[in-house]
Amino acid sequence: MKKVFAVALGILTAIGGFVDIGDLVTNAAVGARFGVSLLWVVPVGVLGICVFAEMSGRVAAVSGRATFDLIRERLGPRMGLLNLLASMAVTFLTLAAEIGGVALALELASSVNAYLWIPFVGTALWIVLWRVKFAVLENAFGLAGLALIVFAVAAWQLGPDWGELASQAAMPSVPATEDVAVYAYYAVALFGAAMTPYEVFFFSSGGVEEHWKPENLKLMRANVFIGFPLGGMLSVAIAVSAATVLLPRGIEVATLGQVAMPVVAATGKIGLALVLLGFFAATFGAACETGLSVGYSVSQYFGWQWGKFVEPLRAARFHTVVLLSCVAAVGLLLTTVDPIMLTEYSVVFSAVALPLTYFPILVVANDRTYMGEHVNGRVANALGVVYLVIVLVASIAAIPLMILTKAGQ
């Protein structure tokens, strides 16, 4: 019974924790602009994150060490440093976007300007990262994030023509009013949002925090292969509800309020209360994950003591990096940069950094020195190589498409 509970809890938190500000904004923006014709990217991205999360989780469970810890050792300090700088920059940008997302959710609930909330959110985030236990942090926000299921309820209540939607999704095409380059730009953004690099750093470091062993592999795989795809269904629901309510009205998504409007239209005040809870939990939970990921990656690269499984005093440099990243993210937001614009850029820059994140994981997962009998099998390697090609194409195309389309204008 205890095992069943652990599996269920793991899957539920994986679902609730799957969506972050990048998924919320990008899926709603794509649904409002392209209907469901770009939804094929979501399963492609979800399968990709499943493949590499499983690999990094397996590395953590078998070796007892997290990804960055091994990247430097296996690929050398130069490659490790390049990896560290690229992933840290993207993860920091995502951290700032998540803090901005929390502030926007609080603004929607209170009507107090988001920029006034930002310093409080940054402080609360740091206190949570410093004081709250890892398991509590992961489970509480993951479970509260399940409130976003209200998007699926809204999509159902709105009663779109499911047959028409299914045929559009099954045979995707560029809408007549849109440019091919803009369509490709949003495809890359959606892919970047689904495969954000911090997710695998957090997943593998979290495995070490929770002392995974090879006997935990089944539980880890259940979380990844059941929880993540169900979390991906939330992304689909966000896009479908936006396609049903926002697209016919010509509303393009530029604010978090617009992301919530389909739920309001379908379910009223109760739905809005749930969606605000979901926004808060998803963005605050992701802010915790990105904040910790910055600390994990720097500490693991330099070989410092890291993690929340030790007393803060014993991991002082790790906690200092976390604190400084929270302060810097708040500072960036207080320049009055638009958090939604920051989110849009963070998902595209995520796509740029993808090969630097995923290539080393594939290398380490194939190394018998670390993995022994749990080294990658044929299926994992075939999928890993296919996805490396896809992330390489997305990475090369991201910046030219951004310039060519004026960031999807």
């Binding site: 603004e107 929607l108 609930a109 209170s110 009507s111 309510v245 009205r249 010509g250 509303i251 393009e252 530029a254 604010t255 309020g257 617009q258 919530a260 409007m261 309001v264 239209a265 009223g268 005040k269 809005l272 605000l276 614009m341 850029y345 951004m402 310039i403 004026k406 960031a407 999807g408 204008q409």
Partner: protein, 136 residues
């Protein structure tokens, strides 16, 4: 590079490019106006609290300003484009007025004012959409 990446309207090279800028500005304005309209209607139907409706309307009004400034800052490339400029600037001004009226009404908790604002928003959005169609 920064202007391009931030999606601002860049200087028009010719009449066609100017019309494209105008069309983009009108579409963005329509999006803001329709968002406010949806929020006000939801508030009127009792499906959305005033605090959240106020945020959506205020965001929509805040979005209009940069659109107006960006388009207004582009010089029309020829005399033929002057009419496009005056039409678009006028429509953006009407939309801004309707959004300001909406913000005031929703903050006053005034259903009559919100109904009047909804009419103004609907007219502004219809005009924006009609002009966008003529520019294509």
């Amino acid at each position: 590079m920064c202007l391009v990446l931030s999606g601002c309207v860049v200087p028009a090279r010719d009449g066609a490019a100017y019309q494209e800028d105008a069309s983009q500005s009108l579409q963005s304005a329509t999006s803001a106006v329709r968002s406010a309209e949806l929020a006000l209607q939801s508030w009127l139907d009792g499906r959305m609290p005033g605090t959240s409706a106020d945020v959506v309307v205020t965001d929509a009004e805040g979005a209009l300003g940069p659109i107006d400034v960006a388009f207004g800052g582009v010089d029309p490339p020829s005399r033929d484009s002057d009419k496009v400029r005056s039409d678009v600037v006028g429509l953006l001004g009407d939309a801004e007025d309707a959004l300001a009226q909406s913000r005031i009404a929703v903050r006053r908790d005034d259903p009559e004012g919100v109904r009047a604002a909804l009419d103004a928003l609907d007219k502004a959005a219809a005009d924006l959409e009609a002009t966008t169609a003529t520019l294509r």
